[in-house]
């Protein structure tokens, strides 16, 4: 019996089209657009000027405040503009625009593929290097890693959870990363164990990646305190609270964080970025992105520099199909539709998904039939059918007592609803308003 979380969950068609295509390096773009707000929290402060010549890996914006992250140049060249550019959020945000010339890396970065498993730094030094390298959660939430690693006073962490679940349909970036860089990920985990003074780490991988599970199983033989768990295929197992429940059977309390049950969770992509930051001295300026879609000619996994326009990725994957309805950044469940293909790849972009126009349209909304399917699939144990009208009618106090803030916007309710009701749309709106009310109370 495979492990999984107990409450709710769905199993959408997996569609892992690019699972067996190895990671390729994408050619450099002609112009890189690097937004300075790529993470949760305060946007980074730009530290360069128009006309400056930057090297790959050079710091261009420093994290401003506690919850923020540094941003580095992903290409070498001349800064031609610093202006507001429409990013994944659909709003104009400040960005640094670099005209690419050559690929001139900072000398301090070690540019080889050699596996360096010797840990020389102390815990504090590792944490400082992670802060300096601008590492954020690469699973999609883009929460600055150093903040996650700073344990609040009075709390104790006894194990790490490493997320190799990749429960979103279509996406295969983490899967390929585990197969091709498994040994590096394990060194990354050792680094995290050292930095956080923890001896145990659990890697969770869904059972639709048997090759990755086998490989990681073989690799962990030589590491002490790291365990690989094969998990039942169920969405949203990649959400940290569900993953912790699945692997450790610990339940994060309502409104709490994983640290409340002594766990900190990291994505395998983040762990690999941490390995590179510490052992290769390479800041976070590239990531693995899956470019996929049923209508796309060559679904693939690319190693992409941050700031590369989405159009270049689509071009390399065989060009934009004629009948494209939507281009989605992220997976089909939680991803966001892009307003055009000039939007740059940021630290949180795990995939680019092309949906044909027939599939992308919303179906007509019908009245709720009280079938309670949304209740049975909600992984947080909420009642979406109730939250939607509460949000529609602006009954925010009741929404709060119904724990709307626990919703993680996985979209299982909207997916399962036979009446095609836009449950998540309204719940998200309700969360926004209730969040405002809660903040105004402080």
């Amino acid at each position: 019996m495979l492990k999984t979380f107990t409450r709710g969950g769905i199993h959408p068609p997996e569609e892992k089209l690019s699972a067996h295509t190895s990671i390729q390096s994408l050619p450099l773009p002609a112009i890189a657009i690097i937004p300075v707000a790529q993470h949760l929290g305060a946007p980074a402060k730009i530290e360069i000027n128009k006309g400056d010549v930057v090297k790959t890996g050079q710091l261009i914006a420093r994290g401003d405040g506690f919850v923020s992250a540094n941003v580095h140049a992903s290409v070498s060249g001349k800064v031609v503009k610093i202006e507001d550019v429409t990013d994944v959020s659909g709003y104009r945000k400040p960005a640094v625009i670099i005209e690419v010339s050559g690929d001139d890396w900072l000398e301090s970065i070690i540019r080889n593929e050699y596996l360096d498993s010797e840990i020389k730094l102390t815990g504090e030094e590792i944490l400082a290097r992670i802060t300096e390298s601008g590492i954020v959660g690469l699973g999609g939430a883009t929460f600055p890693s150093q903040v996650k690693m700073t344990i609040p006073r009075g709390k104790k962490v006894d194990c790490l959870v490493i997320n190799g679940v990749e429960c979103e349909p279509y996406l295969t970036a983490d899967h390929r990363l585990m197969i091709e860089k498994g040994a590096e990920i394990l060194v990354g985990i050792e680094l995290l164990k050292r930095a956080m003074n923890v001896n145990v780490a659990h890697i969770g991988i869904e059972n639709n990646k048997p090759d990755a599970i086998r490989l990681m199983h073989n690799l962990v033989m030589s590491h002490k305190g790291i365990e690989v768990h094969a998990l039942k295929i169920k969405y949203p197992q990649g959400a940290e609270k569900q993953l912790i429940k699945a692997i450790l059977n610990r339940e994060v309390p309502s409104g709490g964080l994983p640290v409340d049950v002594g766990v900190v969770a990291f994505n395998v992509g983040t762990v690999f970025a941490i390995y590179e930051a510490i052992q290769k001295n390479k800041p976070l300026f590239e990531r693995i992105v899956t470019v996929t879609g049923k209508s796309l000619r060559q679904p693939a996994n690319y190693k992409v520099r941050i700031g590369t326009p989405v159009s270049l990725l689509i071009q390399c994957a065989g060009g934009l199909p004629d009948n494209t309805g939507k281009i989605i950044c992220g997976g089909p469940m939680m991803g966001k539709t892009l307003i055009n293909a000039d939007v740059p790849i940021v630290k949180g972009s795990s995939g680019i998904l092309i949906i044909p126009s027939g599939e992308s349209n919303r179906k007509p909304v019908q009245p709720c039939v009280r079938c309670a399917k949304c209740v049975s699939v909600c992984p947080m144990g909420l009642e979406p059918y109730l939250l939607m009208p509460l949000s529609e009618q602006k009954i925010y106090d009741r929404l709060e007592t119904e724990h709307v803030m626990d919703c993680m916007e996985c979209g299982s309710c909207s997916y399962i609803c036979p009446a095609n009701r836009p449950l998540l749309d309204f719940i998200r709106l309700g969360k926004l308003q209730v969040g405002k009310i809660i903040r105004s109370r402080k």
Partner: protein, 290 residues
């Protein structure tokens, strides 16, 4: 004989119940100022919440309790109603200038082309939570009509040709519901002139001139021409956006002719000039900026 029993027993029962009811009513009596009813009768009973209180009754209670009428004002009833309420309560009346809501966006389908298509729930607050909207301008009207839905006075209607809401000057009471509802803060309550004359900057775009002009032909590009020409110091420019203070403006109309993108619009004036070829001007400007 039996009818007598019935009459007596029922009368007794009635008398006892009346006694009980009387004492209970005395015991649980709640004193309510009779003036609250009088004040409420004067209020328009629209329950729109424009005063900031939960309906007319709530405002009446607050007015009776408060020492002065300072800060308490029914925008729907206006000065006439406030004067009558002041007479009921024997206090000084608070007079305010009449106001009217205007939409500070003129980004019609013609001036501001759609660059993407939204197919989610038709609600402005929902769209604005998701992204910048169907056009390149993320400050302008989203056109889903949240304001129309919230207006209690039927003073707002969607124009199907422009895709923008239109304020009915005769019906607008300046209650401010639309101001609170619009997620883009496009409504402003401005001074109401005789003959419904209006001059205002119909734009909220805070982008740089080149970007604003590219996305909308009638966007304010922050060129400061109006600022320089205004003889009454009514115009301020912040974040590449002009704002005309309706309390300082004297309706001299100098800024209207000066505006290169026609983002300052006037209403209710006799036709003086032929509206200059707006599109060609703004395209010239775009080329220059680029």
């Amino acid at each position: 004989m039996s009818i007598l029993y019935t009459i007596v027993s029922l009368s007794l029962l009635g008398a006892v119940s009346a006694l009980v009811l009387y004492f209970v009513a005395q015991k649980f009596k709640v004193f309510e100022d009779p003036r609250i009813d009088l004040v409420e009768a004067e209020l328009p009973a629209a329950n729109c919440g424009g005063c900031g209180y939960a309906g007319c009754r709530n405002l009446a209670e607050t007015m009776v309790k408060a020492e002065t009428l300072e800060g308490l004002y029914c925008p729907v009833g206006g000065n006439a109603v406030m004067a009558r309420i002041a007479a009921v309560l024997g206090r000084d009346a608070v007079a305010r200038e009449a106001r009217i809501a205007v939409l500070r966006c003129n980004g019609t389908c013609e001036f501001r082309p759609r660059i993407n298509q939204y197919d989610g729930v038709s609600s402005c607050v929902m769209v604005s939570a998701l992204y910048g909207g169907e056009t390149g301008c993320s400050y302008g009207c989203l056109g889903c009509g949240d304001c129309v839905a919230v207006c209690s006075f039927d003073a707002l209607h969607m124009d199907p040709f422009t895709g923008l809401p239109v304020v009915d000057d005769m019906k607008c009471t300046a209650c401010g519901s639309c101001v609170k509802t619009c997620p883009k803060n496009l409504f402003e309550l401005r001074k109401r002139w005789k003959g419904e004359k209006k001059i205002y900057v119909a734009c909220m775009n805070k982008d740089r001139g080149a970007i604003a002009g590219k996305n909308c032909k009638v966007a304010c590009i922050g060129c400061s021409k109006c600022f320089k020409v205004c003889p009454h110091e009514a115009i301020t420019i912040n974040n590449y956006l002009a704002f005309i203070d309706s309390d300082k403006c004297k309706l001299c109309r100098k800024c209207v002719t000066e505006c290169p993108t026609n983002s300052i619009i006037e209403f209710g004036f006799p036709i003086k000039k032929v509206i200059s070829e707006s599109s060609s001007l703004s395209t010239q400007l775009n080329q220059k900026e680029e």
